[in-house]
């Protein structure tokens, strides 16, 4: 009864209470020296307590960092109703990132277009005059069919 009340008062588990009691008795020389396992258990408890405190601090720090980053995230949401919601999300300095990501393919495509225009003889150019916009029209039509 006394042990149970003491355990409740200190907020310790039964095992912790036993260790604490053994320690106390050991100090008074009433018990043989502590068993190695008990010492290990004590150390483990201490270690867990320290880790818990560290994790709490870490969680606070991560939450602060996430909130700070979230303030910088521009979200451009292109939403078509009926389930076709397309999220275009760029993080951080979005414009600069988009430029660096797209500049190489854009430059290659532009160079190819200019090169083709310079290389082609006039009779083929007149055919491409219709074919290229037609190809783009097909691609754009197919792409835009996602929205309805």
């Amino acid at each position: 009864m006394y042990r149970h009340a003491r355990r409740l008062l200190l907020g310790l588990s039964a095992r912790e209470l036993r260790i604490e009691r053994n320690l106390r008795l050991h100090e008074h020389g009433l018990r043989p020296p502590l068993h190695t396992k008990q010492l290990e258990l004590l150390l483990r408890l201490l270690q867990l307590h320290v880790r818990r405190v560290l994790l709490q601090w870490q969680r606070l720090f991560v939450r602060y960092q996430v909130q700070r980053q979230l303030r910088r995230v521009p979200l451009c949401i292109r939403a078509g109703r009926g389930g076709s919601v397309i999220l275009r999300q760029t993080i951080g300095s979005s414009r600069l990132a988009a430029v660096s990501r797209a500049s190489a393919p854009l430059a290659v495509a532009a160079a190819a277009g200019i090169g083709l225009s310079l290389k082609m003889s006039p009779e083929y150019t007149s055919q491409l005059w219709l074919l290229l916009p037609a190809a783009v029209a097909f691609l754009v039509g197919w792409s835009n069919a996602a929205s309805p």
Binding site: R81, P105, G113, L116, S117, V136, A137, V140, G141, A145
Partner: protein, 198 residues
């Protein structure tokens, strides 16, 4: 719309689905061709072809702008209606004329949400450079592409009413966007170079 036409594969019969797809395609191609014809005829009537070099350079600039917009380099807003085709067409007009009506509306392009801005470049090309015949042909091809997902969504054996997901849009969004960027940049630069050489 895809969600209402595609289940016909299983719920009704293959024949009903084929009829719906053909009707939808006819509507989309016809409507888009009519738009191209009207735009080309308007351009010819206003004699915009007189300033050909300027017209080519303007169209090339719009193509390049659309490429930049697709690549998210610029976020300049473009006009677009935030609406979809009405659901009631299928109930109101039946399994053949309903998809046809949807095709008629979708073929116009501007009556629903425009997710990929290359549409404006194509329309401007039809107005400034196309003329009535070529404008009609190019916009008809636009209508052909616009009706393609109905066919693609119903082809697999386990076709369901998953809509754009069934047509592979959501999984391949970035690839579609890249393809649009490349195509627009390529055609824009081609037109610019050709216009400057004229």
């Amino acid at each position: 719309m895809i969600g209402q036409i595609t289940p016909l594969v299983q719920a009704a019969s293959k024949k009903s689905w084929v009829q719906a797809v053909v009707a939808h395609w006819c509507g989309a191609i016809g409507s888009a061709a009519l738009l191209g014809l009207a735009l080309g005829a308007l351009g010819t009537a206003l004699s915009v072809t007189r300033w050909q070099t300027a017209a080519i350079l303007i169209v090339a600039a719009v193509f390049l702008f659309c490429a930049f917009r697709e690549a998210d380099i610029t976020t300049c807003p473009v006009p677009s209606l935030r609406r979809q085709t009405p659901k009631k067409f299928m109930c109101a007009f039946g399994p053949i004329w309903g998809p046809f009506a949807w095709g008629l509306e979708l073929g116009q392009g501007w009556t629903t949400s425009i997710e990929y801005v290359g549409y404006y470049a194509v329309v401007l090309w039809a107005f400034l450079l196309g003329g009535s015949f070529q404008g009609a042909v190019v916009l008809a091809i636009f209508g052909l592409g616009r009706g393609l997902p109905i066919l693609l969504a119903g082809l697999p054996r386990n076709a369901t009413a998953a809509g754009p997901l069934a047509a592979g849009y959501e999984t391949h969004h970035s690839a579609i966007q890249t393809a649009n960027v490349l195509a627009l940049a390529f055609v824009g630069s081609f037109l610019a170079a050709a216009g400057l050489m004229l």
